[in-house]
């Protein structure tokens, strides 16, 4: 992988609007996500962070009454257009949620391969290989290799979240969306997942929502600050946290509102 590739835009969001039953939640967001980087989204509660990343895998439109407008370009295609099948799209754009949600009636193994079995992969040897590889990627293999057939819900919260990361990675998505993936976890699990994110960006492009500004500062390359459904500022993380251009950004990162 060379440096020019590292600078390439993978996801290009142009003038994205989203609403819930007529009430606008996003007002024209435009930003570019660079391949194999970590992009953090910060902002006060209710500013539209979740709505934003749920537009990127078109999960937003599954909410009754929700609408989306604008364009999101990936691989030369506007993924919001009507002729893109959301089901196929979601194999390219994985997601990890705020609350760990491994399928409770499935084993650890079945959870990891859930996406592959949906895609019709049945060969045991292939599945075994993927399980070992992705659990290693998610830094969980050593802890679970002897109990792959135990229920996913038997793990600790932090382990469950890494299992969910493995589940998302197993179908080799181009982009991994993470909505406050550590907000339900203890500091040690959080540190592990932050470390993991740093390693994962070699494999996948990450967009992460976080409430924790230190976390954004530690792990991301670029940060966007959202306020009331608008993108106030989007720039290199080091710049945003040291020399923000917008006074609202400055007030937020110095903890004066939100």
């Amino acid at each position: 992988m060379n440096t020019t590739e590292l600078r390439e835009t993978l996801l290009d969001v142009r003038n994205l609007h989203a609403s819930f039953g007529g009430i606008a939640a996003l007002h024209g967001i435009s930003l570019s996500v660079i391949a194999n980087s970590v992009t953090a989204i910060i902002g006060p509660s209710g500013c539209g962070k979740s709505t934003f990343i749920r537009c990127l895998n078109r999960l937003h439109e599954e909410v009754p009454g929700a609408t989306t407008q604008g364009e999101v370009w990936l691989d030369g295609q506007d993924i919001l257009s009507a002729d893109v099948d959301p089901v196929t799209l979601r194999r390219k754009i994985g997601m990890v949620f705020q609350k760990p949600n491994p399928f409770p009636a499935m084993s650890i193994y079945e959870n990891v391969v859930a996406g592959l079995t949906l895609a019709g992969v049945r060969r045991r040897s292939v599945l075994n290989e993927v399980v070992e590889k992705t659990l290693n990627l998610a830094a969980l293999w050593d802890e679970v290799k002897d109990k792959l057939h135990h229920p996913g819900s038997s793990l600790s919260g932090g382990q469950q979240q890494r299992l969910c990361i493995a589940r998302a990675l197993a179908i080799e998505p181009r982009v991994l969306l993470m909505d406050e993936p550590t907000s339900a976890l203890d500091p040690i699990s959080t540190a592990r997942i932050e470390e993991l994110i740093g390693e994962l960006k070699r494999e996948v492009t990450i967009v992460i929502v976080t409430h924790n500004m230190q976390q954004a500062a530690r792990i991301s390359d670029k940060t966007g600050f959202f306020l009331l459904g608008e993108l106030v500022e989007f720039t290199d993380t080091s710049v945003l946290f040291t020399a923000p251009k917008d006074p609202r950004t400055e007030r937020y990162i110095t903890g004066r509102f939100g």
Binding site: G94, F97, A105, M106, A168, I171
Partner: protein, 312 residues
């Protein structure tokens, strides 16, 4: 002073109410026990006389005083299993449709109508079975099944209309409300986050239902089905009217049969010998134990399903 007195009165009222409730709450299980004890005592003559043979013989001869429950147990169990085979998939898919696909208005109306099925008196189902279902089975369905699937023993023999198949179908309709409403509760209690997890992995609508809803709810669904089974096992009136009342053990679903509850309903009035009465009561005891076990099992599954989730 006055205010305090008033408070005390309320307090006393509470105490009486508490004792009343406590009495009722402990009285009801006692009632269950008393019924079991009564059945045991009343059927003691035949338990004593026939022992385990009562359970494993199919002779039913009030004149010669030979009694065995096997044919009736067969009728009860097979008609209930037919009911489950037909009713469970229908109910589960109805519940799935109502919770996952239907708009909330449609779900409300359709859900209400399905639950109204439970309000129809059993004897009305019986009448419908005799005058509508049985003729259709005799004239159309059974001859057709005999022609197409007649190589299976299940579908051989003359089409009577009334019989095992008719009883199974009527029971299926009667247990649909139970299984549907319990399954709906089970599906509704599946957290949205599992559905979203499945969608985010590229699951189609049906796949979301399969891996996130049905699979997560499987224990609860099993409970719902067993609850339906419990209801089918004990149903008397409608079955008595459509099953044909012949104590046969036949492989054919077309042939008449008889269930434990229908033989009791048919014969208790004319049973004169003490042994005959005791034999009928022993059937009651067997049926009581069977439905008790099945219903307890169902509760355990439904309870485990909801517990598993609230613990998360």
């Amino acid at each position: 002073m006055k205010i305090i007195r008033k408070r005390r009165d309320i307090h006393h009222g509470d105490r009486y109410f508490y004792f009343l409730l406590k009495g009722l709450a402990s009285g009801l299980p006692l009632l269950l026990f008393l019924i079991a004890a009564f059945l045991l005592k009343a059927s003691w003559p035949t338990i004593n006389e026939f022992g385990a043979a009562f359970l494993f013989t199919q002779d039913w001869d009030p004149v010669g005083e030979h009694f065995g429950v096997l044919a009736f147990a067969f009728g009860t169990i097979v008609s209930s299993l037919i009911a489950i085979a037909i009713g469970a998939p229908l109910s589960i898919f109805t519940a799935l449709f109502l919770t996952e696909l239907a708009s909330s208005r449609v779900a409300k109306v359709a859900g209400f109508l399905v639950e109204m099925l439970a309000a129809i008196p059993s004897v009305v189902y019986g009448l419908w079975g005799i005058f509508v279902l049985a003729p259709i089975l005799r004239i159309h369905v059974e001859p057709f099944l005999g022609k197409t699937l007649g190589f299976l023993p299940l579908f051989q023999g003359p089409p009577y209309g009334v019989g095992m198949l008719a009883a199974g179908i009527v029971l299926a309709i009667m247990i649909i409300p139970t299984i549907t409403s319990v399954s709906r509760e089970v599906f509704r209690s599946v957290p949205q986050s599992y559905r979203e997890a499945a969608m985010a992995l590229g699951a189609t609508r049906w796949e979301v239902m399969r891996i996130a809803v049905l699979k997560t709810g499987s224990t609860g669904i099993l409970g719902a089905v067993i609850l339906g089974l419990g209801r089918a096992l004990g149903e008397t009136m409608a079955v008595t009217m459509v099953i044909g009342n012949r104590a046969d053990i036949s492989a054919s679903l077309f042939s008449p049969a008889q269930t434990m509850s229908s033989v009791i309903a048919n014969e208790y009035a004319e049973a004169t010998s003490a042994t005959h009465v005791a034999a009928l009561l022993e059937i009651g005891l067997v049926l009581f134990l069977l439905t008790f076990i099945v219903n307890s099992l169902a509760r355990v599954f439904v309870w485990r399903a909801s517990l598993g989730r609230s613990a998360r």
